[in-house]
């Protein structure tokens, strides 16, 4: 399973004049066949960024305009459809990301998302436009969308 970073979806949805947009679109079309994934943290980061320019009603439809359109799964530490789901806060939000920060020098958001992706049994790669930053910091293969298409 390919796990996709926030920036890929931002290019697709919001940055229409970005020079990487064509490759980005091609990547999303290609990866769609194998049902890729996004971590719940990246999903929230994406929605947070889009909230500045999108109505709350539009934003709330993410399961349709994001998941169904791009065939994307969401990786989460709890069942997102279980209203009583609980989590061990310290292990998930402190210990695991802090271990990554100490080992690899990385920001909190990167550490949270990467840790969750690594725990996903079927996850094999992480796709981001900033692949350089993530390489050698994770057990997953890291690609830019361009590198992914060239494999």
């Amino acid at each position: 399973m390919d796990v996709i970073d926030t920036d890929v979806f931002l290019v697709e949805m919001a940055f229409h004049s970005d020079p990487r947009r064509a490759v980005n679109r091609e990547f999303l079309e290609r990866v769609k066949e194998s049902k890729p994934a996004i971590t719940v943290y990246n999903l929230m980061e994406l929605l947070g960024q889009m909230s500045f320019n999108l109505s709350p009603a539009r934003l709330a439809g993410w399961r349709t305009w994001l998941l169904s359109t791009y065939h994307v799964k969401v990786i989460a530490p709890v069942d997102l459809d279980d209203p009583t789901a609980t989590i061990l806060f310290k292990a998930e939000f402190m210990d695991a990301p802090f271990a990554k920060m100490r080992e690899h020098r990385m920001g909190y958001m990167d550490a949270l998302a990467l840790h969750l992706a690594e725990q996903t049994p079927d996850a094999t790669s992480f796709v981001t436009w900033n692949a350089k930053h993530f390489k050698n910091k994770t057990t997953l293969a890291v690609y830019t969308p361009k590198e992914y298409l060239a494999r």
Binding site: M13, A14, T64, V72, V74, I75
Partner: protein, 105 residues
């Protein structure tokens, strides 16, 4: 005869009542569980904590019914158009704000 039938009926209905009572008895409350956990030895408490801390990952699957995909594509197109008119700045600037470092690979 009628009395025997009544007795039979009563006997047949008894197990249902018993099952229902025993099912109620099986329900445990948070307080009871907590009390039991506290009664465990420190080693067993540590084992329990390790078990609970095992990473669990859940996958939310997309709705890929033709209707959901068609609706999703339509909405995504509308959102892209809406954002095209409003979005300012570049991806680099945005990701730098979000992640706190340069975003070129």
């Amino acid at each position: 005869m009628a009395l025997a039938q009544k007795k039979k009926k009563r006997a047949a209905s008894k197990p249902r009542i018993t099952r229902s009572k025993s099912a109620r008895k099986l329900r445990v409350t948070y307080k009871q569980v907590l009390k039991n956990v506290r009664a465990l030895s420190p080693a067993d408490q540590a084992r329990l904590r390790a078990e609970l801390e095992k990473p669990r990952v859940y996958i939310l699957e997309p709705d890929l019914s033709p209707e959901a995909v068609r609706r999703g594509q339509q909405l995504a197109e509308e959102i892209r158009k809406e954002l095209a008119a409003k979005q300012t700045g570049t991806l680099e600037e945005t990701m730098m704000e979000l992640r706190g470092r340069s975003w070129m690979s």
